[in-house]
Symmetry: C2
C-alpha cells in the first residue's frame, strides 16, 4: 500500500525460511523433560477410558516414570491393562490453550527391571521430591511408560506424528531451562541489540522495534515492527548450542555481528 | 509445651468442625463451571486409551459441550466409541498439583438433539469465543458429554465418588467468579477485621494474625497464627450466599459481629 515494506522474510515465523528449528521430535522430548505434571488416559475393565492427573519424572530416552497408587482408579486400571497415554501442555505458556505446543505419548507401562529400578525411582523423585514420602508404601507401583507413539501439536491445525525411534533419538533442548529467563532479560535490557539483530541478520531492514519471542538451541525468534507492519524473524546461532550456559555468549555474538554490519 | 494454645478447633481446616462446606458434588459442579480447558480420554479402534487437550463449555446440568475435529485423533475416536472421560484441575491454584482439588467425569458423548443444539453451541462459544471461527466447519462435531460418573479428589488421599444424580442436582457456587479477588482484597486491606473474625468467631482466641485462605458461598477459611502455632479456622456466613455480589456484605457482617463481641 505505502510502497514501503518492513522487509521480513515472508514466512519468518512459520518455518519456511530455511533457518534451523527444533524438529517435532525435539519439541516433544523437550516438553517431556521440562514438565512433571500431565494427564493420563487408561482403560477400565469394561474398556471405558479414564482420565486423571499424574506427576512424572522423565528418564530412559524420554520414557516417563510414574508412581501411582492402586487406591486411584488409574492405578487399578494399569494393573489390569498396561496401555496408557500421557498428554502434556505447559499451562505456564501464554495465549490460547489450543495454540500452545502440546504432545500426546502413547504406549504401555512396565515395571522397571531390577537393575534399572533405582534409576527409575531416582528419576521420579528428582522431579517430584514429595514422592519420597510415599515411594515405599505398599499400594504404590513404579511404572515406566514405554513410548510407542508420539503426536505433536504445534498449535491450531499444526500437527505431526513422531515415530518412537525419532522420539528416542532426539535430545531435549539443553537451553530450555533458561530460555524464558533469557528472553525476558533480552527484552528488558537489550532492545537496541535486538533491533540491530532483526535489521542486520533477520532481514527486517525496515524494523524500528524488535521483541524476542523465543530462544532455543538453534536460534532466536523476533517479532519486529516498522512501516506500520509487524513481521516475525528467525535468526540462527552460528552453531547449535550444547548447554544452557551457551545462550549468553551466543546472543552476545549475534549482537556483535549485527553491530559490525550496522557500522560497515 | 508452653501451656498456651492458639485455641483453634482441632480440625478447623479438615471439615470435622460442623461448619457447612461445599459438598463434593458442589465442588465438582463449581470446578466444571469455572474452567474451559481439560483433558479428554478416549479409546481408539484397538481399545487403547488416548489423552488430549480439549476446550469445553458447561451446560445442561454440568454436562460439558465439546466441539472437536475429526482431524484430531480424539475426534475420530469419539465417532467410533462415544465413551469419554474428562479430567479437570485448575492450573491457577497454587501448591503441589497433587494437593489441588480436581475431578474426573466419565460418561458418553451424544450429539445434541435438534431443539437443544443451538443452546449447546451457544454454551460452547460463550466459554470459547474463538470457536466461532470453526463452529461451522465440516470436520467439527458438537458433542455433549453426558456425565455418568464423577470422581472428586480434594487433595492427597482425600477422594470421593459422586453419583450422577447428586452431581446434576448440585449448584455451582455462585461466589466462585469473585472468590479469589475477594480473598486478595481482604488480605490486603482488612487484616484487622480478619483477626477479629478469627478470634471472636473462629475459636482461635490466641491468634495474633489471620490470613484468609478461601471464600465460598457458605463461609470463609482462615489461617491463624499465635503462641508459636498456626491453625486453620472456618467461619460460616449467616446464610448461604445466593450470588457473587453477596460476598461483600456477608464479610462486612462477619467483621461487624466480631467487633461487637470484641467490644462486649
Amino acid at each position: 500500500m505505502s510502497g514501503h515494506d518492513i522487509g521480513a522474510s515472508s514466512n519468518g515465523g512459520a518455518g519456511d525460511d530455511g533457518a534451523r528449528r527444533r524438529s517435532p521430535a525435539e519439541e516433544a522430548r523437550t516438553l517431556v523433560s521440562s514438565m512433571t505434571v500431565g494427564y493420563l488416559a487408561t482403560v477400565g475393565e469394561d474398556g471405558a477410558p479414564w482420565c486423571s492427573l499424574v506427576v512424572f519424572g522423565p528418564t530412559f530416552a524420554g520414557n516417563p516414570v510414574l508412581l501411582v497408587s492402586t487406591m486411584a482408579e488409574h492405578g487399578r486400571n494399569l494393573v489390569h491393562d498396561p496401555r496408557a497415554s500421557l498428554a502434556l501442555n505447559d499451562p505456564a505458556a501464554s495465549g490460547d490453550p489450543l495454540d500452545r505446543p502440546r504432545i500426546t505419548l502413547a504406549g504401555r507401562v512396565v515395571q522397571p527391571a531390577e537393575e534399572t529400578r533405582q534409576e527409575a525411582l531416582d528419576a521420579h523423585v528428582a522431579a517430584i521430591p514429595g514422592a519420597m514420602l510415599y515411594a515405599g508404601w505398599d499400594d504404590f507401583t513404579l511404572w515406566v511408560l514405554e513410548v510407542q507413539r508420539v503426536r505433536w501439536v504445534g498449535g491450531f491445525a499444526v500437527m505431526e506424528t513422531v515415530s518412537a525411534e525419532d522420539y528416542r533419538a532426539a535430545e531435549p533442548d539443553p537451553t530450555q531451562p533458561v530460555a524464558a529467563k533469557s528472553v525476558a532479560h533480552l527484552n528488558k535490557d537489550h532492545r537496541d541489540a535486538l533491533l540491530a539483530i532483526a535489521r542486520e541478520l533477520g532481514g527486517t531492514r525496515g524494523a524500528v522495534a524488535a521483541v524476542c519471542t523465543g530462544i532455543d538451541r538453534y536460534g532466536i525468534d523476533l517479532s519486529c515492527t516498522g512501516a506500520g507492519q509487524s513481521a516475525a524473524a528467525r535468526v540462527s546461532f552460528d552453531e547449535p548450542l550444547q548447554k544452557a550456559a551457551d545462550v549468553r555468549p551466543a546472543t552476545v555474538a549475534l549482537a556483535k555481528r549485527a553491530r559490525e554490519l550496522q557500522g560497515g
